[in-house]
Each structure stands twice: as structure tokens, then as C-alpha cells.
């Protein structure tokens, strides 16, 4: 059993490969995507993805756009933004759009692991609440 199902999105192939290895070694199940569109496709096919690690600056569909799309279509999926350079504006914008957190590249592995764990927990918490609510609904209906 892995800690979490993670989707890593970055246009830098080398970065994605190494990070995949490192995260896998830390007991995460990692799926890789190299663009915003790819990421959405993966999310469509694989409902088990819990946390998306998303680079802000990408050619084509950029991080903010992708984030917006993910949040409308998969509202429960948590997104951690990776920015090349920390600007208050991008950070604030990302948070407003529902990102779980943002980190600066290159980031400390421990911090990232911590955030991923929190994100996955949050998602699971949400899902549990939904399940419980459903159960409650069904039991109430029966009663």
C-alpha cells in the first residue's frame, strides 16, 4: 500500500524522471505527465489520483490554467503548485483557485513529502465525509 497516488506534471522531462524515482522510493505511487493536457487526460483515466504536483510555468496550457480546469472537473483532487520563482501574486492566485499549497523549485524533499501527505489526507478526509454523508442519507432513507 502506497502513501498516496500522485500525478507529477512538469514540462522538464529530466526533472519529472528524477522526481518520479525519488518519490517512488519514498513509497508514493507516481504517474508522470509533461503538459497540462496530458495531466487532464491522466486524471480522466485514473480516478485514484489523490494529489497533483503541478509546475506553474509550462508551454501551452500553463499551471494556473491547468489548476483551474482540475478544480472544476475533479474538485476533490488536491493540487500542490511548484513555482520557478516565488512571487506573491502567483502564490495568491493559486491559493484563490483552490491549490492546497505552493512550493519553490528546487524544493526540499522532506517538505514536499509532508505536503503530499497532508494533501492526500485532506482528500481522503473529504471522501470519508462524503461516504459518511451518503451512508447517513441511505440509513435515514431507510428509517
Amino acid at each position: 500500500m502506497t502513501i498516496a497516488n500522485v500525478l507529477l506534471v512538469d514540462d522538464e522531462v529530466g526533472f519529472v524522471e528524477t522526481m518520479t524515482k525519488r518519490l517512488t522510493k519514498r513509497n508514493l505511487s507516481v504517474t508522470a505527465a509533461h503538459s497540462g493536457k496530458d495531466a487532464l487526460k491522466v486524471l480522466d483515466d485514473n480516478e485514484t489520483i489523490e494529489v497533483v504536483i503541478l509546475d506553474v510555468k509550462m508551454p501551452g496550457m500553463d499551471g494556473i490554467e491547468t489548476l483551474r480546469e482540475i478544480k472544476t472537473r475533479f474538485p476533490l483532487t488536491e493540487v500542490i503548485m511548484l513555482t520557478g520563482h516565488a512571487t506573491v501574486e502567483t502564490g495568491i492566485e493559486g491559493m484563490k483557485l483552490g491549490a492546497f499549497d505552493y512550493l519553490m523549485k528546487p524544493c526540499d524533499m522532506d517538505v514536499l513529502m509532508e505536503k503530499v501527505g497532508e494533501g492526500a489526507a485532506k482528500k481522503r478526509g473529504h471522501e470519508d465525509k462524503i461516504v459518511q454523508a451518503r451512508v447517513k442519507e441511505i440509513t435515514n432513507r431507510r428509517a
Binding site: E12, F15, T18, M19, R22, K25, G84, H85, K105, P106
Partner: protein, 564 residues
């Protein structure tokens, strides 16, 4: 290239100066010459006219005098001839009596009287010479006297051997005429004409039809007078009342003014002669004055044009140089802006490879934790090296982040700014530079300052500019940079004081001017302080500067504190 340019410029400015001098001289001197020329020629003409009129009048008057003199003498003799009969005229005693009366009346003008019969024999004579019974039958005057009722002879030597002329009256019958003659003293007559003297060279004389002198000219050496006399004499005698004036060069090469008038019924010609330059002496005086004025004027104009053009061109070249410098600085500024953009781009691009490198190092570190490597003897070295790679990677990240945050567009949105904290940050940022410059930065903050509502990035820019300027100023000798904040009523006062070399008074008024810089080209844009000034003004504040040479410079920024 630069020297070439300089040479070209000198050439250009010299040509410009020459052209300006030329134009000023032509434009100023031409009208002056024209006016002087026109006035002089008008004056010349009218003065000449006046001289002509004056001389004509003079000659006419004197001719009249001489004519009168001759007529008077003739009338005397006529009267005598009519008053006395032949017997009395034939009587020497009577003649002597008459001569005595005439001489009493007219002085020595009448020299003698004689009565000549038709055969030319002087039958009676009264006078100082012994001329009784002199024979004149062949003499020219006697033949003329017989032809005319009255006759005045030309001057001649005659029997007595000195110049004289004779006035005669014919009487008696046609078959047996007689002639009463009187000799007029030449000296008396001569004096009449000789007394006509004007200026230094003006004099008069009388010529007969043969061009012989009838009076002694005051100056001799008039060899070519013949031709003029001929010219005058060929004139119609009926026009004798007219005066003729002409100017001609004589054989000596001098221009003379000749005024001629006929007299004695056209037999004689009175000529007045004067050197032209003498006659026009006043005109020449005027000419000299005009030339002097022109010379002074021309010298004045030339001097002025040279000075003025020189000054104007040097001013122009100064302005051109300034303009060129400003252009240079604008280009420099543009270059700097594009370099800034380039730096931002590069910083961003470098960030990704650095991230990958750090991750790869991290991956190796992960792998080293596997058991198979745990026993490796160089494990510690590997780990140290990887740690180092991680540390240096983070350092790279910090550098690129700083570059990016200062190169990106300024954000003019208004935030609540904690002034003290922000200044601290900036001081930290400048710490490295300050250390190299040997400058110690001291901050004195008033605690619990209210938040300032300004654009953070713009405020950072102002403060960083002032700090950098202070560091630049103290770069050579090191020093102390004091930054303090305080609250004065509704205003926050930020003071940046250095103890560098100070700003010269002449520059102090210009330091906020755009493009004013004392740094060498390429080092400063001259924009820093003007941007600061603009920003502080926009924030509704004031910035001022105080500087004492060798003691340092202090900038004060006053910003209004807006309470919610």
C-alpha cells in the same frame, strides 16, 4: 573614430563661424557702404555745382570789372576827342594838361597821350617818354585804329620796350583821319587780373586770340594752355556773356579746373585756373571724414561679428555636445533595460536545470541509503559531496530569485508597508557591497511606526537607489551610512546620511534632473535620483538633500501617513 569625429566637428564649427562672420559682415557693411556712397556722390555733385556756380559768378564779375575798366578808359579818351578840336589836340601843351587831369583822377593808369595824323606820324605827345614825331604808319595798332572808330590794342612791347596797350579814338575825315591814342599802364591793368586769387592755386589771366598772355599769370609753366585758349576762342563771340567751365588734365598730370569768359567784344579771353583738388578741398575733407567713419564702422563690425559668431558657435557646440551626451545616455538607458530583461530571462531559464541537478543529487543520496552502499569506504565523501551540490544549488536558486524579483516590472499597487522591516531587508541585500566598500551601515529606527500605504516595490526602489548612491560615494574611502526613521506629526521621515565626499554646490541643484550624472559614461544613467524624486512626489511626499563638502550628504524623505 572619436578623434576623427572631433576633427570633423572642429572643421564644421569653423566653417559655421566663417559663414556667420561673412553673413554679418556683408549684411552690415553693404548698406553702410551704399548709404555712404550715395550720400557722398550726392554731396559731391551738389558741391561741384556750387563750386562751378561760385567760380562762374566770380569770373563773370571780374570780366565785368575789366570790361568796365577798359570801357571807362576808352570813354575818357573819346570824351577828350569829342571835346577838343583838331587844333587843340595838336597842341602838346593842351595834351599835357589833359594827361595831368587824367593822372590826377586815375593815378598812373594813363601813361601818355599822343595825337597821330593820317600818315602815322605822332604830331603831338604828352608823357614821360620822348616820342614826339614817332612814326607809327607800319604799326599794327595804327592800322586797326584807322579801321575802327574806337580801338583797344593787345598788349605789346612797341617802341618803348616794355608791355603796354593802347586805347585809340579815330577822328577827322575819311580822307584825312587822325588818331588820338592813350597808353595804359600795364601794371595797373595787370594788377586788376592778378588780384583774382582763390585758395592756394587759383589764379586768373587773359589771353588774346593768338593765345598770347595779356596779363602776367601768377604761375608760369602752363605750356599746353594754347589748346584751351584755341578751344575757347573758336566759340561764337556772341555768346561772350556765357562762362565756360571745364576740367582737364594738364601735361604735368594734374587735373585743373578751367573757367573761361570772353571779354573785350570777344577779342580777349579771361581764364581762371585752379587745381581741382584745391577747388574741392572741402569735398576732400568730407571724403576723408566719410572714409574714416567707414573704416571705424567696418573695424567695429568685423570685430563684433568675429566675437559674436565665436561666442554663438561655441555656445552651439556646447549645446550639441550636451545633446550628444544625452542621446548617449538615452541609448545607454535603453541598453540597460534590455540587459535587465535578458538577465531576467536567463535567471528563469537557469532555474530549471539547477532544479534538475539538485534533484539528481538528491536521487543519488536516496540510492546511497541502500544497504549495498552502506559498507562502501567512500560513503561519507559521497554524502558530503552531494550535500555540497544541494547547498550550492540552493545558492544558485537564491541568486536567480533575487535577480528575478528586481528585474521584473515594478508593481505600483499600494500595500501596507512596514518601513523598518523593509529597510532592514534592503540593508541585508546591500551588506555584501557595503563590506567591499568598507562602509558600515547603521540603522536607527523609531519603533511602532504606523504602516505606510505605498507601493512596496517603488518604495524599495527609492531606498535602494539612495543606499546605492551613498555606497558609490563612499566607495573609495569607506565610511558610515546612517539610515533612520522617525515620525513627525502626520509625516514619516526617513533619513539616509553618509559621511562621504559631499556634492559640490554647483551640482546640488541638478541632482534630481533626469540624465544628470557625474559618473563616467556607462556607469550611471543619471536616472536614479530623478526616478526617486518622481516616485516620492507621486506618493505625496517630499525629498530634499543637504550636503557639506568633505562631511557628507543627507537625504530626507517625508511621506504622509494616511490613517484609516
Amino acid at each position: 573614430m572619436k578623434a576623427d569625429n572631433g576633427h570633423h566637428d572642429t572643421h564644421y564649427y569653423n566653417a559655421l563661424t566663417r559663414r556667420m562672420i561673412g553673413i554679418i559682415i556683408v549684411v552690415s557693411i553693404t548698406p553702410m557702404l551704399l548709404v555712404a556712397g550715395v550720400i557722398y556722390s550726392q554731396f559731391h555733385d551738389s558741391y561741384k555745382e556750387k563750386v562751378y556756380a561760385h567760380l562762374g559768378e566770380l569770373v563773370l564779375k571780374h570780366r565785368q570789372n575789366i570790361d568796365n575798366f577798359l570801357t571807362e578808359k576808352l570813354n575818357n579818351i573819346r570824351f577828350m576827342a569829342e571835346a577838343l578840336d583838331v587844333e587843340e589836340l595838336n597842341n602838346e601843351r593842351v595834351l599835357r594838361e589833359k594827361l595831368k587831369i587824367l593822372q590826377e583822377e586815375y593815378g598812373t593808369v594813363f601813361e601818355d597821350l599822343g595825337f597821330v595824323n593820317h600818315e602815322g606820324l605822332q604830331v603831338a605827345y604828352a608823357g614821360s617818354l620822348k616820342l614826339e614825331n614817332a612814326r607809327y604808319s607800319g604799326a599794327e595798332w595804327f592800322l586797326k585804329a584807322l579801321e575802327n572808330e574806337y580801338y583797344i590794342s593787345d598788349v605789346f612791347m612797341g617802341l618803348r620796350g616794355f608791355p603796354h596797350f593802347i586805347v585809340t579814338v579815330r577822328g577827322g575825315t575819311d580822307e584825312e583821319p587822325w588818331v588820338l591814342r592813350a597808353t595804359i599802364n600795364f601794371m595797373a591793368f595787370n594788377a586788376l587780373v592778378q588780384k583774382i586769387r582763390i585758395g592756394k592755386t587759383g589764379f586768373a589771366f587773359i589771353l588774346n586770340r593768338q593765345g598770347q598772355y595779356q596779363t602776367e599769370p601768377a604761375f608760369d609753366a602752363l605750356p599746353s594752355i594754347q589748346q584751351y585758349s584755341e578751344y575757347f576762342l573758336t566759340r561764337n563771340p556772341s555768346s561772350h556773356s556765357n562762362v565756360r567751365i571745364m576740367e582737364k588734365e594738364d601735361s604735368a598730370g594734374r587735373v585743373n579746373l578751367y573757367v573761361g569768359a570772353l571779354l573785350k567784344g570777344g577779342d580777349w579771353l579771361m581764364v581762371y585756373q585752379q587745381h581741382s583738388e584745391d577747388a574741392y578741398a572741402d569735398l576732400q575733407h568730407a571724403q576723408k571724414i566719410i572714409i574714416l567713419i567707414l573704416l571705424v564702422g567696418i573695424i567695429g563690425i568685423v570685430t563684433m561679428s568675429v566675437l559674436l559668431s565665436g561666442r554663438m558657435v561655441s555656445r552651439m557646440s556646447f549645446i550639441d555636445r550636451e545633446k550628444e551626451m544625452m542621446n548617449q545616455q538615452v541609448i545607454e538607458t535603453g541598453k540597460l533595460a534590455s540587459v535587465g530583461q535578458l538577465a531576467a530571462g536567463i535567471a528563469h531559464e537557469i532555474n530549471n536545470p539547477v532544479a534538475i541537478m539538485v534533484e539528481e543529487a538528491g536521487w543519488i543520496q536516496d540510492l546511497l541509503e541502500e544497504e549495498e552502499f552502506a559498507a562502501g569506504k567512500n560513503l561519507e565523501e559521497f554524502q558530503r559531496a552531494l550535500l555540497q551540490i544541494g547547498t550550492q544549488g540552493r545558492r544558485c536558486k537564491e541568486i536567480t530569485h533575487k535577480l528575478l524579483s528586481f528585474a521584473r516590472k515594478t508593481d505600483s499597487r499600494i500595500h501596507d508597508v512596514r518601513v523598518n522591516e523593509m529597510i532592514d531587508e534592503l540593508v541585508e541585500l546591500s551588506a555584501q557591497r557595503a563590506r567591499y566598500a568598507g562602509v558600515e551601515i547603521i540603522t536607527r529606527f523609531q519603533k511602532d511606526l504606523p504602516l505606510l500605504k505605498v507601493s512596496e516595490t517603488e518604495f524599495q526602489q527609492v531606498m535602494l537607489n539612495l543606499i546605492n548612491n551613498a555606497l558609490d560615494a563612499m566607495e573609495k574611502k569607506g565610511g558610515l551610512l546612517k539610515i533612520s526613521t522617525s515620525l513627525e506629526g502626520e509625516e514619516m521621515v526617513i533619513e539616509v546620511a553618509d559621511n562621504g565626499p559631499g556634492i559640490p554646490k554647483s551640482n546640488l541643484a541638478r541632482i534630481f534632473d533626469p540624465f544628470f550624472t557625474t559618473k563616467p559614461v556607462g556607469k550611471g544613467t543619471g536616472l536614479g535620483l530623478s526616478i526617486c524624486y518622481g516616485i516620492v512626489k507621486k506618493m505625496g511626499g517630499e525629498v530634499d538633500v543637504k550636503s557639506v563638502m568633505d562631511h557628507g550628504t543627507t537625504f530626507h524623505i517625508r511621506l504622509p501617513v494616511i490613517q484609516d
